[in-house]
Amino acid sequence: MLSRVLIANRGEIALRIIRACREMGIETVAVYSEADRAAPYLKLADEAVCIGPAECAASYLNIPRIISAAEITAAEAIHPGYGFLAENINFARICADCGITFVGPGVEAMRLLGDKVAAREVARNAKVPVVPGSDGAIKDEKEALKLAEKIGYPVIVKAAAGGGGRGMRVVHNDMGLRSGLAAAKAEAEAAFGDDCVYLEKFIVEPRHVEVQVMADAAGNAVHFYERDCSIQRRHQKMIEESPCPVLDEPTREKLCEAALRLIRQSNYVSAATVEFLVDKDKQFYFIEANTRIQVEHPVTEMVTGHDLIKWQLRIAGGETINIRQEDIRLRGVAMECRINAEDPQNNFSPCPGRIDAYIVPGGFGVRVDAFVHQGWTISPNYDSMIAKLIVHQNTRAEVIETMKRALREFVIEPVKTTIPACLEILSHNLFVKNKIDTGFVERTLF
């Protein structure tokens, strides 16, 4: 077992990891920037080291300082949390070079799954479906038409050098493809000086579904079922739930098995999330893997009863996974709302500032993962998340009602938060009826 862990992160995930360590009897070293000097969670760590000024580059993203902090405090391992250095291969490599256990995957698995093209290759080798496409530049119209026939319309034509929607168009038939291809090439040439385009199946109104996986160094891997994260705005997740309410049992099993195959294929160790798009016919397509614990991991913890951070720490300490897949069961439904200091009425622009009034909700079915308190000042240097509100109930309908009453109880003043936006989503007819996809929020609400 690990005896002393440095937490290379801040805010709620730093506190989350401190909590798990304390319960396991592992000593903790917290690092902090000058902006976080007064954070109460620092008092809960066994040691706390100031590593730099508020700016991330000089503190939470500064590898030498974090490694130094681990060295002077004799920390045996570093938990990177999420964000910051969590998926930085260089950091993982330096940890290894310095003889510090990185609580996460090995460098090679991180490299494989961190690269989108390599991960797609791993998926194909593991017989995990990926979004069908040309996997490279389309030579000519003839090839495009042939491929489109094979993968089925609609397809999307994308500029190889593109991004942000430019040089991108969705076409629904051969005629559309002919004109779309020419136009996309011209647009790509004009925009990027490169007329290379490729072709991919366009998934219509998909759901974002991700599978939580955990693997150990002995080659054991189990999944903890899936999360549905379709409630997004500009690719930022707002509300997540588990299980995904549109999957039937056979599909769920196939999806989770596919995720496990991919993880096994990459000799992965620690927690990972395998992300898929699920279309209206319940076909799923691998899109990418996240080689870290995720913000929304608590919904999985609530429905499975397993503390995922503790599993990460046990595995990093060399333990093997001593439970069987059939011992992991889904119980009820869990949902998470991210409470950010953002103003929904002003395009979700961040609202840092002092919290003068703060009352957290509680009671049956309510979990709060936060780190702020009345009197805390939200720094403009870091992301705007104040708290994660997680609800666990027997049914999805009950989750929605409990979440609504908990959101209405939550007092955070005077900063603007996403609470009203979450309430609007939860009260929306289509959300309640579960007729949503990744475009729902932007198409319908914000």
Partner: protein, 158 residues
């Protein structure tokens, strides 16, 4: 100069005295003549939630011990300038284990004087004084862990 103009000059002088000595109030009376001066009191410290301590929790030991920027510091001479650590690492006061220290109390330093080494990730980083003056206090001992912003030396500037 009139008596009244004189008053103003005098008040200005008295004020300087008050400020220099942190006086809150000053009263002078010569027979019927009397001057009373009272300076704005600093505001009472109203409860600052930032500063609170989870009493029930085991307090985190600062790696830097009692010299930590966050810890309680002993009263120090005013007007001293602190040389603080720009990085996290291990403090060394001497260039090699048997050598003499870079500086001692009384050593005259200028901005370019190397005052110590801080080792971080096997790299020996020379720390310069960045101020001119005489070393008034050495706050760390060789081999001690230091955090960002921790006071290494105090200098009496020229």
């Amino acid at each position: 100069m009139s008596d009244k103009d004189h008053d103003i000059q005098r008040i200005q002088m008295l004020l300087d005295i008050m400020k220099a000595n942190d006086l809150a109030e000053l009263e002078i009376k010569h027979g019927d003549d009397k001057i009373v001066l009272r300076r704005q009191q600093p505001q009472p410290t109203i409860y600052a939630a930032q500063a609170m301590h989870p009493a029930a929790a085991a307090p985190a030991a600062s790696v830097a011990g009692q010299n930590s920027a966050g810890g309680a510091a002993p009263p120090v001479e005013q007007n001293l300038v602190a040389i603080t650590s720009p990085i996290v690492g291990t403090f060394y006061g001497t260039p090699s284990p048997d050598a003499d220290p870079f500086v001692e109390v009384g050593t005259e330093v200028d901005s370019q004087t190397v005052v110590c080494i801080i080792e971080a990730m096997k790299v020996m980083n020379e720390i310069k004084a960045e101020v001119s003056g005489a070393i008034a206090e050495v706050c760390c001992t060789s081999g001690q862990a230091v955090e960002y912003g921790q006071v290494l030396f105090r200098v009496r500037p020229h």
